[in-house]
């Protein structure tokens, strides 16, 4: 884009204005916070980056949201009903919902937003495939007609992460699905201050005076979104150490996350509260199913026989209060938690592993482990896995690269000689695991699937059954079957879950524990 002198002057004035606005906001009750990443992409449908999702929760509202127990609860929706044959859902919106541009939120806006979301999100795509029509019945009511029952309808509408269903004005939501949205107009509790957005540096929100919260108390992402501060300024810190120092000194009020090691720096500081984050992270070992030797289930089972979550957590996290052994593929502490099929006895079985390798005909091929050198949470995983492989007689080599190169390489199902890999690690937020349809580890479509390239048509069939099932007890039974099969075939190996810590000044109150960091309810003395 060509910039002429007049535009350059305007831009420079804008940058200066942004700086002075941030400073001038001192007269208002302003919350200053440090997020976990820098905001660059504003469109929550294009990317599933957590920082974009968090931004979207500030400015957009959702039809449903999950509470602290991960159960869907109505948010923008006042009433809903489903027909006896489970083929028609009707939703009615709450009164007085309005976008930041002053326009009322209508059923047409919801239909357009659902359409855009359903063209990108994995659960949305499944919903779109069984939807025969969506129709506005009046300004606040719309109906969705299905050709077959879709059990996880509310679960999908309340998807808390990956790509949540955020409601946008129809004029924006109807733009082509592949176009990255640049205009931020939601109906959520905060308004985005576009003039102060400095990509990768800082951004700001102001209270949406017109927002009408629900009456219930906030609970997770559900309940009343009461806003008690006038402004929220978000400042990205590339150095976590600097953010910790800034919090200790009172230059910021809230730090979204720090790891178990870092929190020791703030222990004993009476001006600061350190609290365990409600949503843990789950690290995993992943195999390349598309290439030998891990295309052979016995080789995968051999590695599984020597992996114990306790050892990985002890070595990589250390503090027992900061981690948890978790057998559930869909997350511990979630409605679908189950220990079915969990093979981890807490003790590595080296003899069994060696016997399995012998049965598999493993002949000493070198295993290439790829790992990102610039992401702290990955750092201990590759050496630990390499040590285990060595113990069972598998040759391996760790290849370290930076994050972007790692993502590119991990996405390739090709042989090592053609830029592929054999073994890698991945770390998930638990919130991304709770849905059997949305959990990418259960994408079992072979080379077309998520990294690891799990190939299991039976799991895809089970997902189809889960999708059509509307009874929660039967859904749970299907999930248990999925988990059992995933452990038997070793889709991947879960290495346990660990917690980060959120930190805030003691002048802050009302901070709602939620797997996604949200600041409605927060007040500042």
């Amino acid at each position: 884009m060509l910039i002429n002198r007049r535009e350059a002057l305007a831009l420079s004035a804008g940058a200066l204005l942004a700086t002075t606005n941030l400073a001038r906001a001192q007269g208002k009750k302003t919350l200053r916070m440090a997020p976990h990443a820098a905001l660059r992409v504003l469109d929550p449908v294009v990317t599933n980056a957590y920082i974009t999702r968090n931004h979207a929760y500030m400015v957009y509202d959702t039809l449903f949201s999950v509470d602290s127990q991960y159960r869907p609860q109505p948010q923008m929706v006042k009433d809903w009903s489903v027909s006896a044959d489970k083929l028609a859902y009707t939703f009615t919106l709450r009164e007085k919902l309005a976008f930041h541009d002053g326009q009322p939120v209508t059923a047409e806006d919801c239909i357009a937003s659902i359409t855009r979301w359903a063209s990108k999100d994995v659960v949305g795509l499944r919903l779109a495939a069984v939807t025969t029509g969506m129709k506005a019945l009046d300004a606040r009511t719309f109906r969705i007609d299905l050709k077959e029952p879709f059990g996880p309808m509310l679960e999908g509408f309340a998807r808390p992460s990956s790509i949540p269903l955020f409601i946008m004005p129809r004029r924006i939501a109807e733009l082509p699905a592949d176009k990255v949205l640049e205009e931020v107009v939601g109906s959520g509790p905060f308004k985005f201050v576009a003039s102060e957005f400095r990509p990768g540096v800082s951004w700001a929100y102001e209270r949406n005076e017109a927002y009408v919260p629900r009456d219930e108390a906030p609970d997770g992402l559900a309940g009343g979104k009461q806003v008690k501060v006038d402004r929220v300024e978000v400042i990205w810190f590339p150095s976590k150490q600097t953010a910790i120092n800034a919090l200790a000194k009172g230059e910021i009020d809230l730090l979204e996350n720090m790891n178990a090691d870092q929190r020791s720096q703030l222990q004993g500081n009476k001006d600061v509260v350190v609290r365990r984050r409600p949503g843990p992270n789950a690290s995993t070992v992943r195999f390349n199913w598309a290439q030998p030797p891990f295309d052979n289930v016995k080789v995968r089972q051999a590695v599984q026989a020597v992996v114990t979550q306790q050892d990985y957590m002890d070595a990589s996290i250390g503090e027992p209060e900061s981690y948890q052994v978790c057998p559930a593929f869909f997350g511990c502490g979630t409605p679908l938690e189950t220990a079915v099929g969990f093979p981890d006895t807490g003790k590595p079985d080296i003899a069994k592993a060696k016997a399995l390798l012998k049965e598999a005909g493993y002949n000493g091929e070198k295993i290439v482990i790829i790992t990102p050198g610039d992401i702290a949470s990955f750092a201990p995983l590759a050496p630990l896995t390499q040590q285990l492989l060595r113990q069972i007689g598998m040759e391996s080599e760790i290849q370290t690269m930076e994050w972007s190169a790692f993502l590119t390489r991990r996405a390739k199902p090709a042989p090592v000689a053609e830029g592929g890999w054999n073994l890698a690690h991945a770390v998930f937020d638990r919130i991304d695991l709770i849905s059997p349809l949305g959990n990418l580890n259960f994408d079992a479509r072979g080379k077309a699937a998520y990294t690891g390239f799990v190939d299991d048509p039976q799991t895809e069939a089970l997902k189809g059954r889960y999708q059509r099932e509307t009874d929660p007890a039967r859904q749970k039974a299907i999930v248990e079957e999925m988990q059992k099969r995933a452990y038997e075939l070793v889709f991947y190996i879960p290495l346990g879950t660990y917690f980060d810590y959120e930190t805030f000044r003691s002048t802050i109150s009302g901070y709602v524990p939620s797997p996604v960091m949200v600041v409605w309810g927060v007040d500042k003395r």
Partner: protein, 313 residues
Amino acid sequence: MLRLIALRVAMAVPVMLVVATIVFLLLRLSPGDPALVLAGDNAGPEAVARIRAEMGLDRPLLVQYFGWLGEIARGRFGISILSKVPVLALIRDRLEPTLVLALSAIVITVVLAVPLGAIAAWRHNSWIDRGVMMLSVVGFSVPAFVIGYLLILFLSVKADLFPVQGYVSPFSDPVAALRHLALPSLTLALVFMALIARVTRSSVLEVLGEDFVRTARAKGNVERRVLWRHALPNAAVPIITVIGLGIALLISGVVVTESVFNLPGVGRLTIDAILARDYPVVQGLMLFFALIYVGVNLLIDIAYVIVDPRIRY
């Protein structure tokens, strides 16, 4: 002089073209995919393929290259893949903190390092000389981020004299700007000072042994005048050369210093863009840095003529 400037400006065009080509090829041939970064860590392959097509990254390399060159020729540097903001606007927004930081570091360096180096040479083998050299070894050896964090710990967190982080424009609040700039400027200057002090010392030491210095002393000049009026100006050419070359050191130092003190400058923008494979931003920044180098070299050549009238181009 005008001929020199015109020649250098004309020579800059092929230099920029070579830089543009190398940067384009290096980026495209290095592993990494902006579509994957944009889609997020846990995105499925369909989402990534869709974004790649939308960004035109699935087109042949040559088509992408000539398309980009054509845009550059029209003065368009493209739009950031991630933030959708024009590259020039991004650079412009981040330029002020970096320029202010670099300028203040250079001022501190020149004001402190040149006299220190000259005095060390003048008091050769004395405790002053050894002290200056020891400081310069420390400045060279200790990484900028260690110096930065130590300064924050002692002068900011413990002594509460300076803020930990952030940037305030000197055009909006000069006093606050000075407080925010003090620690990062000092951090950046320490490394640079080590280099300049050493070069000044050796250069002045060499000049102090010259015949014209002995003549100046024989004429009855006081030592101070001999040093500042006669020795230092004649030692200036290598010092200016190193200051110019040191801009490279400064730019690499800026990246670390900006991260440690949370300054939103072009150093951080560069690192972020490289890690995210934000091709248009990296390409724009590399051209910008190349332009800076060409400009700095031109200024050095002009400075040579000013400090040493014997030099002709």
